[in-house]
């Protein structure tokens, strides 16, 4: 296959020229919302305005972002013209959006998903921005913000950890202790079951939560390096190491909430809220389901227990959201200024005031207003040796959505069929990673 690791364009066969014409028409019918990109076009080269495409359609983050932009306008005199789209729609249209007439700056995710568009030439490198803001960020965040070519493309704003969440009062009442090793974890699960609790709440109806469970078990079992290779499509899914990770998962499946493939993560979180379940592995956005302030104060978490002592608990899954500049912004100077502002602790602090479930990506942001759980999340992320994003951000989204999501749902229901499942995953992976 003429695929290069750096995802550069490779000239295809000569039939391509013929296809080009057909493809143009096809774009209309193949379900591509190319036309929608036209809606975001802006007029003229106004140096006093920067356009920004945003996916934060929920009320709380939307308002928080608006406050950041207002602060920027106040400081620089440059207006930010925000074009907000529904979160899922934004993601689905990102391909055609970036190829059409995108806004100068747009919200996006760190990791493979960012590198993919950087590699396709749909984003501008921003090394100049990082010369100014570099000191605000830890090394791990810098790594997350670079494309495959080593240039910076991304400014992170906030991040949040995946961990095992529990209620302090439940642990106190039953005299449970936070487990740090796999054996302790299994023993705790057994005890909870005896006490009439669902040990591990689980809801995988939307198919992505299981990806997070696999991530944790895999990098604890096989280490960060192997996890990265596996996500990049280099390591084989039929490797005995992968099998070992699934064996570990099979050990805790009997303690996981039944009927998980029909349950949303929100419903699973409710069983933690109502103290029917003892623990729940999820991102810290689980806090959104704790609408009562006293319940929220009762929420705590611990990192996923150690499985292999040589890897310990050195890896933390911390998806990071931030900003990128599109390929040819109309107001380049203004966009750079905006990015520099977004990389300051000031911008992060404005955002965090509104959304208490996340923490700042920068190490220089003021942490004094953090809640105890935010402080803990912050300490865990800044102390991590390695940061991962999430399976669908660390690997090809088409692979994770069309292969891994159904495969993991299948595993959850039928853990015994793991061998044929893994060879099926490997076969499909090869064909997806072979095509560019």
């Amino acid at each position: 296959m003429d695929h290069t690791p750096s995802r550069l364009f490779v000239p295809g066969p000569s039939r391509r020229t013929l296809l080009r014409g057909v493809g143009g028409a096809a774009a209309l019918g193949a379900g591509l919302p190319l036309l929608s990109a036209c809606g975001s076009s802006d007029t003229g080269t106004d140096t006093k305005t920067v356009t920004l495409g945003s996916n934060s359609s929920d009320a709380v983050p939307k308002k928080a972002f608006a406050e950041i932009y207002a602060a920027f306008t106040k400081k620089s005199g440059i207006k930010v013209d925000v074009n907000t789209k529904d979160h899922n729609t934004f993601q689905e249209q990102i391909n055609s959006y970036l190829q059409g007439t995108p806004d100068d700056v747009f919200t996006w995710f760190a990791g493979y998903r960012m590198q993919f568009f950087a590699g396709k030439g749909l984003a501008s490198p921003i090394d100049d921005v990082w010369q100014k803001i570099g000191g605000n960020f830890p090394e791990a965040m810098k790594q997350l913000s670079k494309g495959a070519d080593g240039k910076y493309y991304f400014v992170p704003l906030y991040t949040y950890p995946w961990a095992i969440f529990y209620r302090k009062s439940v642990f106190q009442d039953h005299g449970y202790e936070v487990p740090t090793t796999w054996a302790q974890f299994l023993a705790l699960c057994k005890r909870m079951q005896k006490d009439g609790l669902v040990p591990i709440a689980f809801g995988d109806k939307d198919a992505w939560p299981a990806l997070g469970t696999f991530d944790q078990i895999n990098f604890r079992t096989n280490g960060y390096d192997f996890h990265v290779e596996l996500m990049a499509g280099k390591a084989s899914w039929t490797d005995a190491k992968v099998r070992a990770a699934f064996d570990n998962w099979a050990e805790i499946l009997p303690y996981s909430q039944e009927g998980s493939t029909g349950r949303t993560w929100q419903d699973a979180a409710q069983s933690l809220v109502s103290k029917k379940a003892g623990m729940y592995l999820l991102g810290s956005f689980v806090g959104q389901q704790f609408t009562n302030a006293t319940d929220l104060a009762d929420l705590d978490f611990f990192p996923f227990p150690e499985i292999d002592p040589s890897f310990g608990q050195d890896t933390v899954e911390a998806p990071t959201d931030g900003f990128m500049i599109s390929k040819s912004p109309k107001n380049k100077a203004g966009s750079v200024k905006l990015m520099e502002f977004l990389g300051t602790p000031e911008a992060e602090e404005i955002y965090l005031k509104a959304d208490p479930n996340v923490v700042a990506a920068s190490t220089t942001a003021d942490t004094s207003s953090y809640s105890p759980i935010q402080k803990k999340a912050y300490a865990m992320i800044s102390g991590a040796k390695n940061l991962t994003q999430f399976m669908d951000r660390d690997s090809r989204p088409d692979f994770t959505s069309t292969v891994m999501q159904p495969a993991l749902q299948k595993f959850i229901r039928d853990p015994k069929g793991i061998d044929s499942l893994l060879s099926s995953i490997e076969r499909q992976k090869k064909s997806i990673f072979a095509s560019s």
């Binding site: 003429d2 364009f9 295809g12 066969p13 039939r15 391509r16 296809l19 080009r20 057909v22 493809g23 028409a25 096809a26 209309l28 019918g29 193949a30 379900g31 591509l32 529904d86 979160h87 899922n88 729609t89 993601q91 689905e92 990102i94 391909n95 055609s96 190829q99 396709k120 669902v198 109806k205 939307d206 198919a207 992505w208 990806l211 909430q257 039944e258 009927g259 998980s260 493939t261 029909g262 349950r263 419903d267 991102g283 956005f285 999430f390 669908d392 951000r393 989204p397 088409d398 959505s401 069309t402 159904p406 749902q409 299948k410 229901r413 076969r427 499909q428 064909s431 095509s435 560019s436």
Partner: protein, 330 residues
């Protein structure tokens, strides 16, 4: 929050075939001389416009797109720039037939969908139509009640039924006490149950649709036929079986075609219900999952769409051929 690229969107070009009779009208021939004044220049412009625009739209939106997705089925393309379209021959199809664990179940489920729709809601709809045709009291109320599910958007229907089937708080599990550990019935996730659970919802809707079609058919039955048959001493069942049902033949053909189309394009209900998880894979959902999204597999998705198109053609062409033959005879 993490990413999960899913919003119900109708699948791509090779969706359902058009029902018969939508072929574009041709501009009417100029009448023979002597009637020349009948069509002024303005009339002709208007006619050309009225015929030309639909023709253009039809060609652009139906034929070009269908052909484009057939061509794309032999390529790989991530949707970024036409330069990245690469010719791969039959690879997508090999991949689909041999390696995709969801493909054959999806074909199977589409077939089950059709069989169930024909076997249960269709006779039920006919039964309801016959009852309502008897001018019983409140017939309008019943008609509205049964037809309501058809009017409501399928996405809403899916959402409502999802509430009924929710494993923890849903109506069914709460009533029968199956929402406790050890007793769970996972209507939405269990691959042995979920297809049937959705088919109940689909049938619930389809019954109303069939009822309206048959009711319209029954209204067209000549009352003198009934009279004649009762004069001959036939009872109600005999009248229905030997007189009414045979005259419903045109309606039956429409019902068959509509049901086939419904089965092939089944999508929204499942997409909202559980996103086409194991047990409920459908071809239309596979197309969507592969084409929509940021790193799309447009070539591969098109290959699935082509399979769907071929199946539709196999079913529809014999119908069209027989219809046209009949028209010619008439």
């Amino acid at each position: 929050m993490s990413a999960f690229d899913s919003v119900p969107v109708a699948p791509g070009a090779a969706d359902a075939p058009l029902p018969a009779g939508t072929s574009t009208p041709l501009p009417s021939r100029k009448p023979p001389s002597g009637h020349r004044r009948l069509l002024t220049r303005r009339d002709r412009v208007a006619l050309a416009f009225m015929a030309g625009l639909p023709t253009f739209l039809h060609v652009a939106l139906v034929w070009v797109t269908a052909l484009a997705s057939i061509v794309l089925a032999f390529t790989t393309w991530d949707g970024i720039g036409f330069d990245s379209i690469k010719w791969v021959g039959l690879r997508n199809f090999h991949e689909l037939f041999d390696n995709n664990p969801q493909f054959w179940p999806a074909v199977q489920h589409n077939v089950i969908w059709f069989v169930v729709l024909i076997a249960i809601p269709t006779p039920l709809g006919l039964f309801l139509a016959v009852q309502l045709d008897k001018n019983i009291r409140f017939t309008r109320v019943y008609q509205t009640a049964f037809f309501l599910p058809v009017v409501v958007s399928l996405a809403v229907t899916g959402f409502v039924w999802q509430l009924v089937y929710n494993p923890d708080t849903g109506l069914i599990n709460s009533l029968i006490g199956a929402n406790k550990p050890g007793h769970y019935i996972d209507w939405i996730g269990d691959p042995d149950l979920n297809l049937w659970a959705i088919l109940v919802a689909a049938s619930w809707r389809h019954t109303g649709y069939m009822m309206i079609l048959y009711l319209a058919g029954l209204k067209g039955v000549d009352p003198s036929l009934r009279e004649a048959s009762s004069l001959d001493g036939a009872n109600e069942w005999q009248t229905f079986k030997n007189v009414i049902f045979p005259t419903l033949r045109p309606t039956n053909t429409i019902v068959l075609v509509v049901t086939i189309i419904e089965a092939l394009r089944a999508f929204d209900l499942v997409y909202v219900f559980n996103g086409g998880a194991q047990g409920t894979e459908l071809l239309s959902i596979l197309v969507t999952n592969n084409i929509i999204g940021e790193s799309s597999r447009i070539g591969y998705g098109s290959a699935i769409a082509v399979v769907l198109l071929v199946i539709s053609l196999v079913v529809i062409i014999p119908y069209l051929v027989s219809t046209f033959r009949k028209e010619r005879r008439a």
